[in-house]
Amino acid sequence: SRQGGLSVLPKDTAAEFSVRSRDRTYVVLAGQVLICRNYKGDVDMAEIDHFMPLLMQHEEEGLVSPVISHGSVHFLWIKHSNLYLVATTNKNSNASLVYSFLYKIVEVFTEYFKELEEESIQDNFVVVYELLDELMDFGFPQTTDSKILQEYITQEGAKLEVAKSKVPTTVTNAVSWRSEGIKYKKNEVFIDVIESINVLVNANGSVMSSDIVGSIKLKTMLSGMPELRLGLNDRVLFALTGRDKGKTVVMEDVKFHQCVRLSRFESDRTISFIPPDGESELMSYRINTHVKPLIWIESVIEKFSHSRVEIMVKAKGQFKKQSVANNVEVRVPVPSDADSPKFKTSTGNAKYVPEKNLVVWTIKSFPGGKEFLMRAHFGLPSVENDEAEGKPPITVKFEIPYFTVSGIQVRYMKIIEKSGYQALPWVRYITQSGDYQLRTNV
């Protein structure tokens, strides 16, 4: 039966991590389990054998679902590169916890092995087992912070025997994300404010939905256990403190890293925390205002059956003249049977990417207020592909440095450590495309 699996999905591999009751962890190689950890112990080990055939059956029927059940057993799965990570349960488990945990496993393994794939699992199976033991016990997720795990579970076991002989206090500390005794010569913290623009534009050019998803990322290089406080031009905060100078921003929803004191934020909007060492995402926010699409696309795509496709795309920078969008890519879908491409652009390069059925028009530097044009011409075969094709939208990628659409600003970052050192915060702003889709008529 596994042979059959092999022929359909030759490169596919499944990893199963059983969570909650009667669980196990599997990694299947070509329909075969690569690694598994059974956290509870009652379900027959053979249950996972039903997973791949069921999944393939569902895929064929076009009814793929993240939950597959077989009798009283439920498989909750995610896919990562060529691996399936599958959690098995026969109880009414907390499904959102299971998926969060599976993604956490991917994160931890990726930080350990750089790539999470068949080879890295095989190459490191001893550490993988150790990690699986530490990540979850009896179906309850435990320590999942890879920086902390790396303090006592390492790939070079023999050499680090001494370090491994004690439990880092961090594991069970209230501050479970930062170890004590970190030292830097120069104390610095780098703050990246990145805003992604999500836009959905209808074929007739009206903006159906748009929002801004912002993210504040830190790279912390600070000694000891510093207390940080981040000040933003948050309208709610300004209203609370009675100041009303300058532009403020209304954040629709804010999500914080584990380290931020949530009840403090809830009561007085103060963002206070002891940061994790190194890189981390401190917070994300969503702003639901109407954003003018920063790069506006008008397209005329004419399809002459059995003969040709003519594409005209106009891109316009709808942002300040002083700003420049970098690495702009306009991706225009073309029929899968198109051939002999011809392009003409007023700036940048257009390229046909047949494996993705796209024309990619790249503009390295796109100043605000400018307008550029691209024309493409494709031939169509006289015998047409009769398979129905979807209507993929035009998508756009770009990056505008030194600028945020929302106008959010870091007003201050206070850093206090008991040793009293001076530390420097650096801030950088970027606006980029998120899910940026413009539907076409064809």
Partner: protein, 966 residues
């Protein structure tokens, strides 16, 4: 600063590439033998390598259990990595080698006292995973020590070990007092220990629902809320899930918990957010709606729910399934968030379909234009399932938002023009629903529909088209030809199409009798003589019989006005919805099924209910034997969870609505289930007077003689029987009328004694009195007057005492009443103050009428309306009562109540408990909705009443009690 960007990309590199993959390569003969030798080597390094090879073999599924003693010998080592591998091996094979597993016990005991906490924890963690009974008792002492260990890492591991041990031997854990130790750990100074203790206790409590283990009280709740701020994201989830099981004492406690839980909505982990939402949704039930905080909380819930849609697709899916529940329970939360549910091209199909579902739920007049534009876009996509659902959604919008109906119909017509086969079929199916909702409004499109007749190959679409042709036969010139064309392959059609075709042709015949006699005879004979399908045959016979006995009645039955279809569809039944809200984030919320439906061994587990609903769950302890008790013969789910709107429509459509029949039975339509009864009904039908007075009867002749044996039932009036049967599943009984009581004793009435009662007879309320003259003189000039009262009850005419009442004479009087008098609220509500006058004096008395006299005959609510109304009425308006010592089964109860115009709309059986959903309507158009729970073998019924005017509940309950007990 410039370099920094590069650094950002660099991730940590690990030392040399010394990989473990080599261990997988040894697959030679004699491998086990070689490994055995290596395991027993004196060299530590060689031993370790050997163990790794063993584990590698185990990983790829080879059986290396033969090496058990050799591997266990390696257990006593200082090398932590080696120890971990040996333990891993042990966990895998101990169960298959229980005798040898004993060998490991000493090491466990020793390791639990190791100075290194990592080793102590490792030992206690592994111990619990060895599911060998013999070993477990040896592990109690080490576990006890570890539970009190100075290192929190060991304590948090030991806490989980208690749950493991409990899973293996619950009794042992209880005897050893571990549960108490575990409870103590809730007060531990370390948040991770608290979190694991909570997780372990919850797990144990889940498998022992009656253990009262968690024993949640305000003190423990406070501890948990404090730990919530300090523990890891996973610990927060355990604590929140545990909090969700608590029922606050009052609204103040509820609010204070909510205030401390809301900050969790800002956590980056979606699972933390969803568990917090669960707690808030549950505790909100207890907050008064006029509280400012209630509104604040509602506003706080929307943004985090929307943000969940930016999570990974699987998490989005869980979020969407839950939002679907939340929108049904509290539509106000997300009513302005339509746009975020718009489908993206790259969404996985399962996300797309869920988004569509929620879009339909949120559709309203305010956003319908946008929604329709989107749906039209989706309908031209390529994914068949998605497209179908989008087309269906357009139909739903038309039915839900009346103002949009016209635009929806024209959108559907546009889609039909695409000629894409499945789009056309789906469109026709929904257009039929639109016709049902807005009769005589959009029939102009019929011509376009008829053009597509040939391309319909799906039963549902064919049935819908046939229905349309039959329903509008008078407007379609060639209706007979169209229907005839379907008739050719009659026996190849699905039952759905056959039934529809039969009905449609009968309709056609009734509308155009002259041209279609032949056709109708043909279909009747196909349905009755040539079919094996009992449903089809039965229906055929009924029509045949109807047409041959009384064509006028046939017309009234077949062409009767159909009840309108309701707007909301796919609503989850209220009790189930409440239960699912308590399970937000879990598999139950993903499947939209109660855990008992998919988790083995959970049948005895109590169903969760929301706190505001007056603890309906309390009386719900259904023993495992529930289903065997015989009370629960019917399959559950009579209220359709309704994946299939059409199925339901067809049911209605099969229904000869009985409202126009001769003796109007109190139902507005019989359910499909009633068709079964016609087996019996047919007897009398066929046995009855076949000749009839039918003008057309001659054309038919007698119905074909079916097997005579089954038609030996007594002869009685054909058609009337049919209607009687249609009256309901149980034979309707007369209304219960309370016996007369003395209202005015002779002492107070100067010799006039009045006793009386109230009754509702044939739709008329009567005051029935016995007047006795106990005085010495004749009484004359009787008159009666009522004071203003709650329902405006007033005499519909004068009191008819025509002859003088002589001494010792008794007279019975029935005074018809109406409800158009002046209204004033009385206390009790059903109190009536009466003044009776005669030639002697005016006398005043008060009496109470059973509220059932006000229950009108058309008080049967349509199911869908019932669901929507139940949901719509705030929980504060729900009240619950118990009726003791009632020994009827649910069917008997149902038919008794129906006699008093309390109508059963649906019945559901869960775990041996029947739940009857009932409705009644008061003369002033107030609806009362009821859920009556009847447990086989338990004489105590539980009844929950919901009404927009909750004041009536007490009286309604009294009626129930009186009717059921008499």
């Amino acid at each position: 600063m410039q370099e920094w960007a590069n650094q950002l990309c660099e991730s940590r590199q690990f030392g040399s590439k010394m990989t473990d993959s080599k261990y997988f390569t040894t697959t030679k003969k004699g491998e086990i033998f070689e490994l055995k030798a290596e395991l027993n080597s004196d060299k530590k390094e060689k031993k370790k390598e050997a163990v790794k090879k063993v584990i590698a073999s185990m990983t790829v599924g080879k059986d290396v259990s033969a090496l058990f003693p050799d591997v266990v010998n390696c257990m006593q080592t200082d090398n932590l990595e080696l120890k971990k591998l040996v333990y891993l091996y042990l966990m895998n094979y101990a169960k298959s080698q229980p005798d040898m597993a004993i060998m490991a016990v000493n090491t466990f005991v020793k390791d639990c006292e190791d100075p290194n906490p990592l080793i102590r924890a490792l030992a206690v963690r592994t111990m619990g995973c060895i599911r060998v009974d013999k070993i477990t008792e040896y592990l109690c002492e080490p576990l006890r020590k570890c539970l009190k260990d100075e290192d929190p890492y060991v304590r948090k591991t030991a806490a989980v070990c208690v749950a493991k041990l409990h899973d293996i031997n619950a009794q042992l854990v209880e005897d050893q007092g571990f549960l108490d130790t575990l409870k103590d750990l809730i007060s531990d100074s370390n948040p991770m220990v608290v979190a694991n203790a909570v997780a372990a206790l919850s797990e144990i409590a889940e498998s022992h629902p009656n253990s009262n283990l968690m024993d949640l009280n305000p003190q423990t709740i406070n501890k948990l809320l404090t730990a919530l701020n300090e523990c890891t994201e996973w610990g927060q989830i355990f604590i929140l899930d545990c909090l969700a099981n608590y029922t606050p004492r009052d609204d103040r406690e509820s609010q204070s918990i909510c205030e401390r839980v809301t900050p969790r909505l800002s956590h980056a982990n979606s699972a933390v957010v969803l568990s917090a939402v669960k707690v808030l949704m549950k505790f909100m039930e207890m907050l008064p709606k006029d509280l400012d905080y209630y509104g604040t909380l509602l506003k706080k819930l929307a943004p985090p729910l929307v943000t969940l849609l930016s999570a990974e697709p699987e998490l989005q899916y869980v979020a969407l399934r839950n939002i679907n529940l939340i929108v049904q329970r509290r539509p106000e939360i997300l009513k302005h968030e339509m746009k975020v549910f718009f489908v993206k091209y790259n969404d996985p199909i399962y996300v797309k379909l869920e988004k569509l579902d929620i879009m339909i739920r949120l559709a309203s007049q305010a956003n319908i234009a946008q929604v329709l534009a989107e749906l039209k876009e989706y309908a031209t996509e390529v994914d068949v399932d998605f497209v179908r659902k989008a087309v269906r959604a357009i139909g739903r919008c038309a039915i839900k938002v009346e103002q949009s109906a016209e635009r929806c119909v024209s959108t559907l017509l546009d889609l039909i023009q695409t000629k894409v086969n499945y789009v056309v079929q789906e469109a026709i199916v929904v257009i039929k629903d639109i016709f049902r909702k807005y009769p005589n409004k959009y029939e102009s499109v019929i011509a376009t529909l008829c053009e597509n007749l040939d391309s319909l190959d799906e039963p549902e679409a064919r049935a819908a088209m046939i229905w349309i042709v039959g329903e509008y036969a008078e407007r379609i010139d060639n209706a007979d030809e169209l229907l005839e064309s379907f008739l050719e392959g009659f026996h190849d059609e699905s039952t759905q199409v056959q039934l529809q075709l039969l009905t449609a042709i009968v309709k056609l015949f009734l509308k155009k009798p002259t041209e279609t006699q032949e056709l109708v005879q043909q279909v009747l004979s196909l349905a009755t003589q040539d079919s094996d399908n009992p449903d089809l045959r039965d229906r055929g016979y009924i029509y045949w019989r109807l047409l041959s006995t009384d064509p006028v009645a046939a017309k009234e039955v077949v062409l009767a006005e159909k009840p309108l279809i309701s707007e909301e569809t796919d609503l989850i039944e209220p009790t189930l919805l409440e239960e699912l809200i308590c399970h937000i984030g879990t598999l139950a919320s993903v499947y939209h099924k109660p855990p008992s439906a998919f988790v083995e061994g959970s049948r005895g587990v109590q169903h969760k209910r929301l706190p505001g609903s007056t603890g309906l769950g309390e009386s719900l302890e259904s023993p495992d034997t529930g289903s065997a008790a015989g009370g629960s013969d019917a399959p559950p789910a009579v209220i359709p969870s309704q994946g299939d709107l059409l199925g339901d429509l067809l049911n209605l459509d099969l229904t000869p609505p009985a409202t126009t029949g001769p003796p109007p039975p109190p139902t507005s339509g019989m359910q499909l289930g009633a068709m079964d009864l016609l087996g019996g009904g047919l007897d009398s039908l066929l046995g009855g007077d076949l000749g009839g007075s039918s003008a057309m009867g001659a054309g038919f002749g007698a119905a074909p003689a079916a097997s005579p044996a089954s038609f030996s039932a007594p002869v009685s009036g054909g058609l009337d029987d049919l209607f009687d049967l249609g009256g309901g599943v149980g034979m309707p009984m007369g209304a219960y009328n309370p016996p007369k009581t003395v209202w005015l004793p002779a002492m107070k009435g100067k010799g006039l004694e009045i006793s009386g009662t109230f009754a509702r007879r044939a739709g008329i309320i009567q005051m029935e009195m016995t007047l006795i003259n106990k005085a010495m003189s004749v009484m004359t000039d009787f008159a009666i007057q009522f004071n203003r009262n709650s329902f405006g009850i007033a005499p519909a005419g004068p009191l008819q005492v025509l002859t003088p009442l002589s001494p010792n004479q008794t007279i019975e009087v029935a005074l018809p009443l109406n409800t158009v008098g002046p209204v004033m609220k009385m206390d009790p509500l059903n109190n009536l103050q009466v003044a009776v006058k005669n030639n002697i004096d005016v006398f005043y008395f008060s009496c109470q009428y059973p509220i059932s006299v006000l229950f009108v005959e058309d008080g049967k609510m349509e199911r869908q309306v019932f669901l929507a109304t139940w949901k719509d009425i705030p929980n504060d308006n729900e009240s619950q009562f118990q009726i003791k010592d009632c020994h009827l089964n649910s069917d008997a109860a149902s038919s008794k109540l129906q006699g008093s115009n309390i109508f059963t709309i649906a019945k559901r059986t869960v775990d041996g408990q029947d739940m009857l959903y009932q409705s009644m309507k008061l003369t002033n158009s107030i609806w009362v909705l009821a859920e009556l729970r009847v447990q086989a073998g338990n004489p105590t019924y539980t009844i929950s009443l919901k009404c927009r005017a909750p004041e009536v509940s007490q009286c309604v309950f009294q009626t129930y009690e009186a009717v059921l007990k008499n």
